[in-house]
């Protein structure tokens, strides 16, 4: 393999890993994908370490004459992460095709760029609407009445839309969830004044369900099982920070409310 091809191949593997990691893929899946992509194109020695904040790859490959080639390392820092499981699935599918069907590097890169640019399967309005659906049906499971069902539906649409917009503007995760929690509590208090049958607590629980760090929790567990202790702990920390941020936002507003004489 020529020097330039080798470099291109590495960049492709790195890019595939980056898309997966940025969109909520598990660490072990990213490592596995990178290793398989590289090995399929003849790299003899591939080693990759992936943490939620960065990807490190190192490869070595003797050239055609059997001479030892230079060793390459690539590092990619991952700054902002979002959740788009469709992209993870697409890259997963791509890696299978790339290995089995022997796509060329150019085709592969083109495919990856298409995946990166592809819009999420649901627009932010749809996401907001389904946020409402989810929280309202969730509190129905907890035994809510019809009025609470309606208020959770309406309030969560606002909350979900706000956190989606904030996430788009690249705010820190702590800020997003703090604002989300505060907004959730404020809306619930407001709706609670409309009718005595609406319990503020239940509406808040419904609203904050859409912010619960489910991906971080699940991936943290999976990473820890696979032996990626750094990633596992990092994700657990992420989940903890999000939980604290939500509690802080909700608690602040509720405290203000009781301070000014309102009851829960």
């Amino acid at each position: 393999m020529e020097e330039i091809t080798r470099k291109k191949m590495l960049v492709l593997a790195l890019f595939a890993g980056e898309i997966m990691l940025k969109n909520g893929g598990e660490t072990y899946r990213v490592e596995d994908t990178i290793t398989r992509l590289c090995k399929s194109r003849g790299f003899k020695y591939v080693e990759s370490i992936v943490t939620p904040t960065g990807i490190y790859i190192s490869v070595d490959h003797p050239d055609e004459a059997g001479k030892e080639g230079p060793m390459h390392s690539f590092i990619k820092r991952i700054k902002n992460r979002q959740i788009n499981l469709e992209k993870v699935a697409k890259v997963n599918d791509f890696s299978r095709r790339f290995v089995q069907e022997g796509l060329t590097l150019q085709e592969g890169m083109k495919n990856l760029k298409e995946i990166e640019k592809s819009p999420p399967p649901f627009t932010k309005y749809q996401v907001a609407f389904f946020g409402g659906v989810t929280s309202s049906f969730f509190i129905l499971l907890l035994g809510a009445n019809f009025l609470e069902f309606l208020s959770a539906f309406a309030a969560t649409i606002f909350v979900t839309y706000t956190i989606t917009i904030l996430a788009e503007k690249d705010f820190a995760s702590f800020t997003i969830h703090l604002v989300g929690g505060a907004l959730a509590a404020a809306l619930a208090i407001l709706l609670g004044q409309l009718h005595p049958e609406i319990s503020i607590n239940r509406v808040i629980i419904g609203e904050i369900m859409v912010m619960v760090p489910g991906v971080a929790v699940t991936n943290g567990v999976r990473d820890s099982i696979a032996g990626d202790l750094i990633s596992g702990m990092a994700r657990a920390g992420e989940a903890l920070i999000v939980a604290i941020a939500i509690a802080f936002g909700v608690g602040f507003v509720l405290n203000l409310w009781t301070f000014f004489g309102g009851g829960l």
Partner: protein, 207 residues
């Protein structure tokens, strides 16, 4: 509220979570089914034995099992099915109650509810861990089988055209390639089961 009604509610709620996490559109219904099944298990066990932690543990196990199953039949990453289903089990209510107790400066209640939240979180991890590690072991075993199969295929190929004289290094390369092919078959095409495993080498021979 009847179990069936709760199943429907959980189904809809899980689909909502799936949309929040932007899962592929074609897997929405399956994600919803996994979540609803997990919640139903949680609900029934919780009612029968009156223990949230045990119920969560069993629900997480069921969820992990069905998630792995769907991942193989649908050729999608496992996360797509699991994450939306896990979220309703996450101790959001317990955490919220802990926070309220802290606000009211009722620290003994906070410790009580807070430890319940931690136990629930541990139960989710425990349930997932057990199923996933058993599955990882089984997959490793299947991979070892696939490797052996790859070597056999390679040997057969060599027998078929004797004119081909590969040096050992190149042969090793081809074995690696066949191994990769077999690996992907294992990971994504498990539906055919035994029948497919029998067919695979035959196809190679025809070529």
């Amino acid at each position: 509220m009847s179990v069936a009604l709760k199943f429907v509610y959980a189904y809809i709620a899980t689909i909502g979570f799936a949309v929040l996490f932007q899962v592929p559109k074609k897997t929405l219904l399956r994600s919803g089914f996994a979540g609803a099944l997990g919640w139903s298990v949680f609900n029934i066990i919780n009612q029968e034995f009156n223990s949230v932690v045990v119920a969560t543990f069993l629900a997480a196990m069921v969820l992990a099992m069905i998630g792995e199953r769907f991942a193989r039949t649908e050729k999608q990453p496992f996360t797509v099915f699991i994450i939306p289903g896990i979220v309703p089990l996450v101790p959001g209510v317990a955490l919220y109650n802990t926070m309220i107790a802290i606000l009211e400066e009722n620290y003994s209640l906070a410790a009580e509810v807070g430890s319940e939240a931690i136990l629930i979180a541990l139960a989710i991890s425990g349930g997932l861990t057990i199923v996933l590690s058993v599955n990882a072991y089984l997959r490793k075993k299947r991979m070892a089988l696939a490797e052996r199969r790859a070597i056999k295929i390679q040997e057969k190929r060599n027998k078929m055209d004797k004119g081909r004289d590969l040096d050992p290094e190149e042969q090793q390369k081809e074995i690696e390639k066949t191994k990769l092919e077999e690996y992907y078959k294992e990971q994504f095409y498990d539906e055919g089961g035994e029948a497919q495993k029998e067919e695979a080498p035959k196809k190679e021979e025809e070529k």
